[in-house]
Amino acid sequence: MTTFDAIAAIAATAAIDARGLCRRYGRRWALVDVTFRVAPGTSVMLAGRNGSGKSTLLRVLAAAIRPDRGSATVLGHDLGREREEVRRSIALLSHASYLHEALTAMENLRIAARFLERKTGRDALLPLLAEVELDARADDAVSTFSAGMRKRLALARTLLQEGSVVLLDEPYGELDPPGFRLVDRLFGTFKARGATVLMATHLLDRGAALCDEGLVLEGGRLRWHGPARELPEQGGLDPATLPEGAR
């Protein structure tokens, strides 16, 4: 085996292998030279202040937007050349709910199920809505839902995708305390399936309790990567408090 083959084999085993990812909006760089690797089945907390590039990183990894520089593989699929395969591997819970306002919760799920070529019957989809405690509102239009209920429906849609890599962008946002517990439970479901989970959150203690690793972004740059349990202790979001050598 040549060195190149060995490197390729190692890269193929990583769930996410990001190398020098950069992304800009106009003149402002939202991501700068972000490099990290995540092993399959690992759960990673993504922390950072507002505007630090967390959502951009997740959207780049989900193949929703293209990086301006750098490259990445997701389960061995190149983000630049194999975007459809990457999308097939990933389920993204985005800030946007990806829902149609005029349609009911059931219809929104059914559309996603049809595209995913899954079972579309009421019997197949109602348990998903029950999982996020929306089964009683299955036939109500999304336009009548509160922000928290939309988040729950978006979570049900993420569950339906059964992605091997799950990207959660602020999953606790807009949810009530039972909703927090729901996210914790679903996080366990994703892990039990063997999925790799990347979760952007400001709830450091909660994230540290759930995740194996932590990543801290600051101004679009990766400032720290280490065990998640260490992240809340050293401040997490303030680069000045990061351990020597990690800045």
């Binding site: 193949a63 929703a64 999308r87 946007a96 990806y98 149609h100 559309i111 049809r114 595209f115």
Partner: protein, 221 residues
Amino acid sequence: MKQLAAALYKEWLLQSRALAQLLAVLVFGATALLLFSFAVGPNYELLRAIAPGFLWLALLLSSTLTLAESFQAEMEHRALEGQILLPANPAALYYAKALANWAQLTLLGIALVPLMVALYDAQLPRPLALAGIIALGTAGLSAPGTLYAAMTHQARSRQTLLPLLLFPLVVPVLIAAVKATSLLMLGDPMSQIGSWALLLITFDAIHWSLCGLLFGRVVED
């Protein structure tokens, strides 16, 4: 085909919840026809002669409303991006949306015909053939219109941008559609209608195939 069926199912659901918008576009088209007839005055000979042109002008103006609004529901919560990430086939999404727009514009065109007959004292010797020409002409509007609507949906001035981009592109379709409609309504002594219909079919084939190929690039970042 499963992807196209899924996309058509979505369009059917969305259209069934947007009947008020369909009615608004119909009223807009009818108002345009009415105003054009007032502008010409009670000269029935002239009205009959220009009725086909005004029918297509009303359809063209109405089409910008239909097309611009067709991506509104997809953009509210980035639903289109959500479908692309599932991943849904972009070509299936495009063809379903274009077919929905085509169906809307064809129905609108057919609904405007009785009003045109009443307001412009127009003759209607072959109503089915006219419906066919309307279907061919609106196909030529909806295919590039859907693509441009997707391109301009995030622009602040999309209501201005869409006609600016679309109108120059559909001039050949409009000329062919107006000529074919005129020949149907005013008589066709030289049997030219087949040539104009063939021209429409050619433009439709080019637009529908090219736009389907380009849509994936348009919706990608």
